[in-house]
């Protein structure tokens, strides 16, 4: 393909690989062509992000702390132990600490929205969001801890591997305190190791979801015995506290609580050896053909169609196996597949509320919307990041998100943005939007826009059917 890409292709590529078309990206694609744009997005390290990163370095610096630093600053147990003799906080201190954590979490959301809109490595952001939902955790379970851990989970466990190796993603999420708290594995211990505290014992929660949701899939051919074996393999796999050895990432394997018997897992025998057992189990899971199928289905559904074609799933699964779960290679295969370029799938993915909201801001070129308004809007649209209760994460299909209510709320958002309410009351100029984006809208939309009072033209553009889909 030459650099003269058709508007339809540009619409397709820029919407599917990013959080929505922006003027910058369109100019770029017009210059280098869709294929080079895809290649560039697949290799994010080559995309300069200095301008994006320097905007608010000081404000977001605390969000980059490692888990040990986070605990020292925000975890009440750690703060108390630093204070020496102190046993508990006064109410005032408790209140202050709660406020500090709430502020931290508001900044976490602001940063998430900021990078979704502004990070030039859009595909990496999109994939980070995809994997976050795949390995979902939820703010309100153990809220005091999750509020401070979630951004670390996303930035350290997920983002670096979003286009990397699936096996690394699996290891990073498995060790992260966010996941260990959310799916209870920090409480998963060998029952025999712990007779005096009868309450604790084997906890299958993480072991089950690790197979059902993260790897093999619900029909992936494992049994309840495999769940129990995996839970036993994961005993003692937990989080540091003030009394254990310390680590930067907060992970701590307590060998005293581990079950050292041999286990039979998915037809393999795993010798009781301690921490190494988990590596073996993750290898089995990451390279299992059922995992390749499961992940390929989810990627095809996310990038191509709510009901993805089998031919594509097969191709991707083969690539997944051949490349040992190299996500970049699998996505490369996806982006060159005939299914991906089949025009019948163009513009057929209904955006999720989060994608819709971010795409409007990207088109409107609003880079720093007021955080509190954004939180309210996203909550109202039922898709505040990090706020999905169950481990299967937010869905991305039209069936889930299209409703009369959703339409009215989206159009209200579109109009609100057009009026400049997220932009210091500076109305969004429709003539500039039309200059850049006219080619991507149907004649009907353009006609309706042009026939209307200029005051409302931007609202119609943001609220048009073309903006609801990607």
């Amino acid at each position: 393909m030459t650099s003269l890409s058709s508007p339809k292709d540009i619409f397709h590529i820029s919407n599917r690989l990013s959080f929505g078309m922006s003027e910058k990206d369109i100019n770029k694609i017009n210059k280098i062509g869709v294929n080079s744009y895809i290649k560039e997005q697949l290799n994010p390290k080559n995309i300069d992000i200095n301008t994006f990163q320097t905007v608010k370095v000081s404000k977001y610096q605390k969000l980059n702390m490692n888990v040990a630093e986070l605990f020292k600053n925000y975890n009440s147990q750690y703060i108390l132990s630093q204070n020496g003799k102190k046993q508990s906080f006064s109410e005032e201190e408790k209140k202050q600490l709660n406020q500090k954590r709430r502020k931290f979490f508001t900044d976490t959301l602001e940063f998430k929205i900021d990078k979704s809109i502004n990070n030039p490595r859009q595909l990496e952001e999109v994939m980070t969001d995809f994997w976050f939902n795949h390995f979902n955790v939820f703010t309100d379970k153990m809220r005091n801890l999750q509020q401070i851990l979630i951004t670390n989970y996303e930035q350290k466990a997920i983002q670096p591997h979003a286009l990397g190796k699936f096996r690394d993603l699996l290891a990073a999420t498995a060790q992260h305190p966010s996941m260990l708290y959310y799916l209870d594995n920090w409480q998963n211990v060998n029952p025999r190791s712990n007779k005096q505290k009868s309450k604790k014992g084997l906890n299958e929660n993480y072991a089950r979801e690790l197979m059902e949701l993260h790897t093999l899939g619900v029909d992936g051919g494992y049994t309840q015995n495999d769940v129990i074996s995996l839970a036993r393999i994961l005993t003692g796999w937990g989080i540091m506290n003030v009394n254990t050895p310390q680590s930067d990432n907060g992970f701590y394997f307590n060998e005293k609580l581990h079950d050292y018997d041999d286990k039979s897992f998915l037809g393999h025998t795993i010798k009781g050896s301690g921490i190494e057992e988990v590596s073996q189990a993750l290898d089995i899971l990451a390279y299992h053909p059922a995992t390749a199928n499961h992940i390929s289905y989810k990627l095809a559904q996310f990038f191509v169609s709510d009901t993805p074609p089998n031919t594509l799933i097969k191709k991707l699964a083969k690539t997944f196996v051949d490349s040992e779960g190299n996500i970049k290679i699998v996505l490369g295969k996806l982006f060159e597949s005939e299914e991906f370029w089949d025009t019948k799938y163009y513009g057929n993915k209904f955006k999720t509320p989060y994608q819709y909201v971010i795409s409007v801001l990207r088109m409107a070129n609003i880079s720093q919307p007021p955080t509190n308004m954004m939180i309210r809007q996203l909550r109202d649209l039922q898709m505040l990041p990090y706020n999905y209760i169950s481990p299967d994460g937010y869905k991305n299909t039209k069936e889930v998100w299209l409703s009369p209510d959703a339409m009215i709320k989206r159009l209200n958002f579109a109009t609100t943005v057009a009026q400049g309410k997220l932009n210091n009351n500076e109305q969004i100029n429709s003539s500039e939007l039309l200059k850049t984006f006219t080619n991507f809208f149907t004649p009907k939309t353009i006609q309706t826009v042009k026939n209307s009072d200029q005051k409302w033209q931007s609202a119609l553009i943001f609220g048009s059917p073309e903006m609801m889909f990607k």
């Binding site: 379970k141 409703s403 009369p404 009215i408 709320k409 109009t415 209307s452 409302w456 609801m468």
Partner: protein, 407 residues
């Protein structure tokens, strides 16, 4: 959430008149020629209310030993409990409920809860709302399944107070959401007539988006018309009691209106009283009592066919903690109000507060699964067969009839 079913349901409803009570809500009017009068309202107290300071076993010394700072004194002492049956007394902040108790229209079931050892707010609420304990991934609420069953006989609807449909009502059947009192009825940008007209042009087709838009807009219009009156009223700065009292008034108005509304839900938060609980509980209980009494009153004759359940995820520790508060416990009271219940006495099991009678030596034990009283209501008041009750609460075996409803 299967939105396809939602749209189908809406398509079915378009023969009638759809009234939305907020932008994501649907109330159909004039659907039913024989509206069923039986109604169920669930009030959920999020955060785990301290049931032991709602209904106080004032005859037990253990109660006072365990709670030196937060106990409520016996009857006739200053701010003492209001005697219920010579053994238990009611928190005086709930004085508005005493007439209902005396009329036998209020009862409490001891030791209700979710029978596992979970003390996580979010998980237990999740299970109490999806009605399938142990299945975290089910995000369909039991009240929505119930709505489906009731609607299949006779189109009916559910109303929720709040802008976001709570999990308990989430599912394939659309639900009406009444705005919370504190979020006054806000105008949307899309209500501006010219904006409205422009989007009407943009979405005038037969595609799924246009259809969804058209339904949404139709609903919104009726909503504005219905509540114009309220918008004026609320701007008059009427001496407001509490938000909750105003909200239940609206709910009662809707439930007694033309639309066949059989189910209602409202939640109240801030019950997680780990610190200085007395003042907080007092502040929260007064409007709750007043609101429930108001709801009963406003429903008028319909109260005879209505059951109101007040529930919470779990109870709190028998012993107060070091901060004059209480921590997460297990069993709790379920409150039941209704015109046709055998109230004025207690149900469930009470095992005293002696340490050996407590769960893990610290909590009121759970002796009645939270689904049991609800199943009794569904069976007695709604005539649901055991099979249908099983659709509402899969894998739950209704064991016994607690007999708190008079047939």
């Amino acid at each position: 959430m299967k939105r396809r079913t939602v749209l189908q349901q809406i398509a079915l409803f378009t023969g009638g008149l759809i009234i939305p009570l907020s932008s994501n809500s649907w109330v159909s009017k004039g659907l039913s020629k024989n509206p069923s009068q039986k109604k169920l309202i669930v009030v959920f107290l999020r955060g785990a209310i301290d049931g032991l300071n709602v209904v106080i076993p004032y005859q037990e010394d253990e109660y006072y030993h365990n709670r030196p700072n937060i106990a409520i004194l016996p009857p006739n002492e200053p701010n003492g409990v209001l005697d219920l049956d010579g053994y238990f007394g009611l928190n005086p902040a709930l004085k508005d409920l005493m007439p209902l108790w005396k009329k036998k229209q209020l009862t409490f079931i001891h030791g209700c809860g979710l029978e596992n050892e979970n003390r996580s707010h979010f998980e237990v609420q999740h299970y109490m709302e999806n009605g399938t304990p142990g299945n975290l991934k089910n995000d369909e609420g039991w009240m929505n399944r119930l709505l489906g069953i009731l609607s299949s006989k006779n189109p009916t609807q559910a109303v929720n107070i709040g802008s976001v449909t709570p999990e308990i009502l989430r599912g394939s059947i659309p639900v009406a959401n009444l705005p919370r009192e504190k979020d006054n009825l806000q105008k949307l940008s899309t209500d501006i007539p010219i904006v409205n007209k422009l989007f009407n042009e943009l979405y005038n087709g037969n595609d799924s988006l246009s259809l969804a838009y058209q339904e949404g807009q139709k609903a919104r219009k009726i909503f504005i018309k219905e509540f114009e009156h309220e918008m004026v009223e609320s701007s008059k700065n009427a001496p407001s009691t509490s938000n909750f009292v105003q909200e239940v008034k609206k709910m009662a108005k809707l439930m007694s209106g033309e639309a066949n509304t059989q189910l209602g839900f409202i939640d109240l938060g801030q019950w997680d009283t780990h610190i200085n609980q007395s003042a907080q509980l007092n502040r929260l209980l007064m409007p709750l009592g007043e609101g429930l009494a108001t709801l009963a009153l406003e429903l008028g004759n319909l109260f005879n066919d209505t059951t109101i359940i007040v529930m919470s995820e779990f109870g709190r520790t028998v012993k107060e903690n070091g901060n004059k508060g209480t921590d997460h416990g297990s069993g709790n009271l379920m409150w039941i109000l209704g015109g046709n219940i055998n109230g004025g006495k207690f149900y469930g099991q009470w095992n005293t507060l002696e340490k050996k009678a407590l769960f893990e030596g610290r909590d009121i034990p759970i002796t009645t699964d939270f689904r049991q009283p609800i199943s009794n209501i569904l069976s007695t008041n709604f005539d649901l067969s055991p099979q249908l009750i099983n659709q509402v609460f899969p894998n739950f075996n209704s064991k016994n009839n607690l007999n708190f409803i008079s047939v």
